[in-house]
Amino acid sequence: MGKVAIINVREGKILDALNRFWRGLLETRAVDALLIPQTLPGGRNVVQTLVSDPQNLKRPDPLAPVLPVNSARLLSQMTRVAPSPRKVGAVLRSCELRALVELVKLKQASLDNLVLIGVDCLGTCSVGRYAERIEAGLTTEDFVRSFGEGQEDVSLREACQICEFPAPVHADLTVCLIGADLEKGIPVVAQTPEGAQILEGLDLKPGEDREVAGREEALSQLIARRTAVRDETLAQMQREAHGMENLLATFAGCINCRNCSTVCPMCYCKTCFFDSPVFDVEADRYLGWTEKRGTLRMPADMLLFHLTRMTHMAMSCVGCGMCQEACPNDIPVAHIFRMVGMGLQTVFDYVPGRSLEEELPLATFREGELPGIAEE
């Protein structure tokens, strides 16, 4: 456990307390800008914003249970050409941090001059469901409190319900919510020397290890519970989609819109293979295939797209579930990609987002490995 500081919470107002913390980061010039989720005017959505003037931190709310976009995509967009010489603090959830690690390894993002601030993720709803919560008068603080009371929120996205990574990884600073007595204070833990330096510069009460003592226990209980749900859910998915017949039934609603790929943090190619003319053929070829098969589903190559996408991204799938949010026809793509990804990750003993040093399995090789693949 790194250096701990405590953000004071007055009268149970968690968001106000955190707001002072975010402001402090900008006011002390610990960072020159923050990438931080803020509530949009109207209140029905919370989106990532870039802010450099603390005055413009109007309604920051990184704990709001909604994730419209996986921010790893945004950081890739921002840093891929060249990172800024100025410091940017990025407030991220676990799936965003893990996706960012993968993108860095894929040379699609840079961590230079980024200060990664992770927040414990208590789960997120779909954008539509979040708006309904707001209309029903449910606040972020209600959400955090009911989580603290151990209630599993059934309105969370399915990807979140099976997520066994609630805690941030690779963050310089971690805002700890799980297992903390938030009415008293919010612990912030520095996990890197840079994080520790930032904490020192802020006007925060130094904390002691005992103030995050409950965290490990609460985390491991949550992870165990989520892992059990994950295994059950994915086992059921495997039964449902097993074999060509079932797989095609599962993908019956697909319209080749490729939204799943557009929002996927791992689908980074500027020109997708499926935008290339490689499989563009003359009409007569289609008629030839039709004669062979009797009927040809149009648009063609639905399954080819999904299977190919799996060969390209599933190894790095962090299970953020953005694909399923973007699917117009409710195909359980998040579960399918997660299930396939876990199979792949087991073969290569790889966990996406686990380590910056660990090589991407498909970018390297070992001699004498994988018996049975090439020679019987």
């Binding site: 989609a241 074999g243 009797g294 190559d301 080819l304 299977l307 060969t311 073969v347 090439a374």
Partner: protein, 152 residues
């Protein structure tokens, strides 16, 4: 019933001649195929060879395209480990094919229809034997059931 007849025609039988799409590295397996030809080594005519620069240049999309298009099997032929013209393309291919097979297996599709084999330019006989063995295996497996589905 017509549907029934269609089903029956997909059962393994003597008359079934599988179609194998071969992605063969030009530095080894493709040359081995040539050698098999020039030395008049007999092997089944079921393979449709495609010359590639390296087994490492075969993106799984082409393997999938062949399988979904109705090929009964796909053979990827590369150089023996250590002999790759591009140093390590074949060993990267091994990872890629292992990944593809894992995906097919998870989804309950037949990963045994994809073979990766190391066949050097000197191994005309091994090429012929591999094609014979694969053809026999596919005859036992029967036609690729993907052919039955039009809604792919």
């Amino acid at each position: 019933m017509r549907g029934q007849k269609r089903e029956e025609s997909l059962l393994p039988d003597e008359a079934f001649e599988p179609v194998i799409v071969g992605f063969l590295c030009q530095w080894c397996t493709y040359t081995a195929a040539d050698l098999a030809g020039t030395t008049r080594t007999q092997y089944p005519p079921n393979i449709r060879p495609i010359k590639t620069m390296c087994s490492g240049s075969v993106d799984p999309v082409y393997v999938l395209r062949a399988l979904l298009g109705g090929a009964d099997g796909v053979l990827i032929g590369g150089c023996r480990p250590g002999d790759c013209h591009y140093v390590s393309g074949n060993l990267k291919a091994r990872r890629r094919i292992a990944a593809l097979k894992s995906i097919l297996k998870t989804l309950g599709l037949e990963e045994d229809r994809v073979w990766l084999r190391w066949i050097s330019a000197a191994e005309g006989k091994k090429f012929a034997d591999t094609v014979s063995e694969f053809t026999q295996k596919l005859k036992k497996m029967g036609p690729n059931p993907i052919k039955r589905h039009w809604s792919i």
